[in-house]
């Protein structure tokens, strides 16, 4: 009798003292409203990681954790891209105003997180300032081809690295090309504007010319299946 009473007391104490039981609900609501999620890791994982890769690297689409890129692009441009998307390059619109599900505050939380939570953002650019995000210069197709041959063709003449097919060029816009040339993709080994020609960083004009030349290769009917005969 005494033993069972004792056991009862212990059990009672255990229960009374245990809001630390494993089953005790975590603080806060179990499933928050989707528009109340402000945590960068969750927001990024739910909305961006699919294309841009975990932690902004090694994804199919552009590596957002690229330090050159993060130091180069401003908040307003990022905000606009996330909210309105770039449908010509398969970037969906995520903002409420454009039919997506993210609120303005959530988009700001994403941008803030990209800039503060990824180590890449802390690496300040060394050496030269890159050409600006947008340019007023006009590109020259002929000069662009020359720059391409000296700066890009080293790798891109390989058939596995070809970027001159109309299919590829119809799936990227000029700004994508400019971003890729300037910021590079260190996660998959593509050099940035400084390293394309070692020791000779590309100038704004050179980048603009290459983009203009690539743009001139676009055709009216891109996306023909099967590779074209050489």
């Amino acid at each position: 009798m005494k033993i069972s009473a004792l056991a009862g007391c212990v059990l009672l104490l255990a229960i009374m003292g245990c809001s630390h039981l494993p089953g005790a609900p975590k603080p806060g609501v179990e499933v928050p409203r989707p528009d109340a999620i402000m945590n960068f890791a969750d927001l990024y994982h739910q909305n961006c990681a699919g294309c841009h890769g975990n932690h902004g690297m090694n994804g199919a689409a552009f590596d957002l954790a690229n330090s050159t890129y993060l130091n180069w692009i401003d908040d307003a441009t990022l905000r606009k891209i996330i909210a309105d998307g770039e449908t010509d390059v398969q970037m969906p619109a995520f903002g409420r105003s454009a039919g997506g599900f993210l609120t303005d505050a959530q988009i700001d939380a994403l941008i803030h997180g990209m800039r503060t939570e990824w180590p890449a953002a802390d690496e300040k650019p060394q050496g030269q300032t890159p050409p600006p995000y947008t340019t007023a210069l006009k590109g020259d197709v002929a000069r662009g081809e020359q720059v391409y041959q000296s700066a890009c063709a080293r790798c891109h003449r390989e058939s596995t690295q070809s970027i001159t097919s109309p299919t590829y060029l119809s799936l990227v816009n000029d700004q994508t090309l400019r971003t890729l040339i300037i910021a590079g993709r260190p996660d998959i080994g593509q050099p940035d504007w400084e390293a394309d020609i070692p020791g000779h960083p590309l100038t704004d004009q050179q980048v603009t010319d290459v983009v203009a030349w690539l743009a001139s290769l676009r055709t009216m009917t891109p996306g023909q299946p099967y590779a074209q005969p050489h």
Binding site: Q90, P92, A93, G99
Partner: protein
């Protein structure tokens, strides 16, 4: 049984007249109770059946807001407050629907509820499909069934444009039973189901 009980039951049985009177009284009493019961039951049944109403009682024209919220060529989520409501309904009166602005004043307003079993379908503008999270119903942009278990396309609300605002005729949870009151799609998926037509 004891003898006393036997005697007690025997005594009144002797007087047949009194017995028939007792039975008559009992029957009258039962009848009286039946009348009272029916009198009570009538309002109770009315009370229980109160929610069963015609469409026109529940439905009305509701504004989804100005047209400029719905860019042409896109499908957007719109919300409205159900017209028939009680103060204690909380958030459950808020209702969502998908508005597809085809062009000009041509729209399609789809119910959020899957035509299969009423789960909330989600629009994916990239693949231009509605997908249902419950049993995998998929619909094309115009609401036609694309795949999965639904036997018809998405339910659609009647709509009209008044003063640059989009109005829909709504008020009930769309189901197969009242879908005929909504605009039924002329798609091939709508077949072999008596309740769709009714």
């Amino acid at each position: 049984m004891t003898d006393t009980v036997h005697e007690e039951s025997k005594t009144p049985q002797d007087d047949r007249k009194e017995v028939s009177r007792r039975w008559l009284l009992l029957k009258a009493g039962a009848l009286f109770n039946a009348v009272v019961g029916i009198a009570i039951a009538t309002p109770v049944v009315r009370y229980l059946l109160d929610p069963v109403r015609r469409k026109s009682f529940y439905n009305s024209w509701i504004s989804l807001g100005p047209l400029n919220q719905f860019p042409a060529g896109e499908t957007r989520l719109a919300t409205y407050v159900n017209p028939y409501r009680q103060p204690w309904d909380g958030t459950t009166d808020d209702t969502a629907c998908w508005v597809r602005h085809i062009s000009g004043s041509s729209f399609q307003v789809f119910a959020i509820n899957c035509a299969h079993l009423g789960c909330p379908v989600r629009w994916f503008p990239q693949s231009e499909l509605f997908m249902c999270p419950c049993h995998g119903g998929v619909y094309y942009a115009d609401g036609e069934r694309a795949s999965g278990p639904p036997e018809r396309g998405l339910f659609q609300y009647q709509y009209k444009v008044v003063n640059d605002e989009l109005h829909i005729y709504a008020g009930q949870m769309p189901t197969l039973a009242n879908s005929a009151r909504l605009r039924v799609l002329n798609n091939t998926g709508n077949k072999g189901c008596s309740s769709c037509a009714g």
